[in-house]
Symmetry: C2
Subunit: 463 residues, 2 copies
């Protein structure tokens, strides 16, 4: 029996104990955005620190301006040094009446198809997803007395609150956290059977803007036609934002945007993705993005502009014939590699400002931004992880993109120069952030086994 | 002394008594939109009936589905038969704390410039404006024992609630109300010194529409670019509504619209109207209507489209990267003579529908509409009234337009075939519908004298 086989057997044999530890963690209601749960957040951090200490990690709970961080360093061994990142905080549970079980009283719910759901807030996001890595390390430690590579871990408690303390923490503790690569667990499998590594994610820039026309709302009987209408103006701006062909019509927006690499295109072509179903599942059938590009390319590899909300004038019951003097909108741009968020923000502002008549005004409010990233598909560790996942799941690992943005990874890249591997075992239907969140028991079990294999693959002794 | 001079002297001598009657009427809180004041509305109607009865009118209070109407017929004498229209109901008084006096306790407030304000809800709109006509009739009656022409009056109690009972009432009592012309008092002077007859008003069509894209709100990280965004869609529709040159871009919208008649153009050219000040007073300087047309033409003689409100997606604090699945807007069109409201509604719906992608949907909700009207400037009674006003105010009477709409006049025109003369003595700063409504004592006094003169001018015995 190789040591890998022995460690996998150890993980299998201790699954119930691993699950009990997940239940313990879920029972701590570490809701980061609600001040009433601050002590619980600290309790979750302490609990994690204790788990790492039990694995002979040099583990500490470190204060921040918000909820604390947990940092742990495993035994110094040969091979690559990985920094595993997860977060112990969870989303609020409202509306509570939509839950079928108590969110902080985890339970198992067998399903007709043979799967078992682990129910509870955080079961998937991110307590289940992070604990499987800890449990993989525990199995290695139990069998071999150490870990196959050098492992550090960082758990934050404010991910669901936008990670306000992460940047300052990296600034202060960067040298203590730097490793060869980040492992990030907060992602999905491709489908129920197919493991995935997310190799590309979009950045974003978010803005709010408000236009002002007259110095008060006017009556359309008196001023209609002659007085500039703020809602008409903001409609005109929004209307010009995207061209007939679905592209973003801001001059310079596509500067620096490359065509999709051939390696990604080939990977994506073999992915079982049904664009018709993807749109059909939400009641649509006509892709709204750039004409001539596939839906996957539109959502993963192409930048876009989306208006998230608009307001202005009278929106209540009945009718008021007002000419609104103010109107606003919230908008964000999803970016791809090659686009600088600050430059895109300025291009947008220039675009809007040029559409404002000389007697009107516009104000802008900055919200968050993040840089896009795209990993080369032939990296050594990525390739090793891919093979390890394929071995566990007996399915070719998907090298996928995501249209979403992962701002914290930009922080690690910008401040510490670290690239990331995104490997997670959540499934599309896990209802994260919603009532009745669940994590599949198979995600949990095979997730532990997957990390056991990846650690083996990364070690120099395993080929 | 001619009888006209005697009647004017009578009006002057009895000004205090006239004013006391106005105070009595203001003290009745006849707020039509608040059910708690229903008995007060009836009390105001009874009060007016009693006033007319005292002038030997055949006066009745007539029930409707809402608040009652007051109908009065004066003595049958030779000459044209006029139907004077006014309304005894008033707007609500909220917010009460912004009033400097009690809204239903009228008072006189001398001003530094020598004017005196009559303060109270309805002082101008419409109790003051309607009572001056009654007081003019009273002066004629006192001096000559009768009236110089045949006068009927109609006072409604739901004007501030949209006149829901007026159409059915005209349907039922049309034969009893038909006269040679309507006199309508609910309008302004041109400026403090210049009397005005409003000869042209715009119609309107009001609509609400809502677009639906996906069957739920989506996350822009997952669907951004590929899924149709309802706010983007409604922005595109609003943006296309008006062309760069300020015109309405709906195909067929201007069919049947005539150029301004030369007579109106000449009248308007001599009106002391300062377009720069008109816009400057509300913080604007660039006319937003059709390029190449004067501001007066834009607001009085040209149709337009105005968006009164828009909604969709997330408009609260902070940021949500949602792709909204629903967005809506309220819009109205101001129309001019030659445009059929029903046709314009359909053109708008066709225009919007053509912009909806095949996998999305739009729904429409109809609100009110009204036909535009434009009086010939050389009508016999209009000319007589004009000269009478000029004689009283010693200023050339303005023959003005208004960009607003007067739906009830469409009812009289459509159902009874009656044209209207709009003569009122309100001033721009009367704060109607707002706290601290006032009517100038000079409007009241010279308003009575103006109506005395107009009745004289209309009579065949006066030249």
């Amino acid at each position: 029996m190789t040591s890998l086989d022995a460690v996998l057997a150890q993980a299998d044999a201790n699954l119930d104990a691993s699950l009990e530890r997940l239940f313990e963690l879920i029972r701590i209601p570490s809701v980061s955005t609600e001040p009433a749960y601050a002590a619980d957040c600290r309790r979750a951090a302490e609990w994690l620190k204790d788990q790492l200490a039990a694995l002979d990690f040099d583990a500490t709970v470190r204060d921040t301006a918000g909820h604390p961080m947990v940092v742990g360093h495993g035994p110094k061994v040969a091979g690559p040094h990985v920094l595993f990142y997860g977060h112990y905080d969870v989303q609020p549970v409202d509306p509570l009446h939509l839950w079928n079980t108590q969110p902080f009283e985890p339970s198992l719910a067998p399903q007709p198809d043979g799967e078992t759901y682990i129910l509870g807030r955080g079961a998937s996001d991110d307590k289940g997803q992070l604990l499987i890595f800890v449990e993989a390390c525990r199995a290695w430690k139990a069998v071999t007395g150490t870990l196959p590579i050098q492992v550090s871990m960082l758990f934050e408690g404010e991910e669901e609150a936008g990670s306000p303390s992460l940047g300052p923490f990296l600034e202060q503790h960067g040298d203590d956290l730097r490793a060869d690569i980040m492992l990030v667990c907060d992602t999905d499998m491709w489908d129920r059977e197919t493991p995935a590594i997310t190799t590309m994610w979009r950045g974003f820039v978010s803005e709010e803007f408000e236009v002002t026309t007259a110095d008060r709302d006017l009556h359309s009987g008196m001023f209609g036609s002659a007085a500039r209408n703020a809602v008409q103006l903001i409609g005109t701006i929004i209307g010009k934002l995207r061209a007939e062909d679905g592209s973003v019509a801001i001059p310079g927006f596509y500067d620096g945007v490359s065509e999709l690499a051939e390696a990604n295109r080939q990977e994506w072509q073999r992915l079982p993705f049904d664009a018709e179903k993807f749109l059909g599942d939400v009641g649509l059938s006509i892709p709204a993005g750039e004409a001539g590009r596939s839906v996957l390319e539109q959502v993963w590899a192409r930048p876009t502009a989306e208006v998230h909300g608009v307001w202005g004038g009278y929106a209540g019951e009945g009718f008021k014939t007002v000419i609104p003097a103010n109107a606003g909108a919230k908008i964000s741009f999803r970016l791809v590699a090659g686009q600088d968020p600050a430059r895109i923000r300025q291009l947008f502002r220039d675009f809007v400002t040029a559409l404002i008549p000389a007697d009107c005004a516009v104000s802008f409010k900055s919200y968050a931004s993040a840089t896009a990233q795209s990993m080369p598909l032939d990296g050594e560790l990525l390739t090793k992880a891919r093979h390890a996942l394929t071995a566990e799941w007996q399915r070719e690992t998907a090298l996928a993109g995501t249209g979403g943005s992962i701002p914290i990874l930009g922080e690690f890249k910008d401040r510490l120069g670290m690239e990331s591997l995104l490997i997670g075992f959540a499934r599309f239907d896990n209802r994260i952030h919603s009532p009745n969140e669940k994590y599949d028991l198979s995600s949990f079990h095979k997730g532990i086994r997957s990390w056991v294999r990846i650690l083996a693959a990364f070690s120099e002794t395993e080929k």
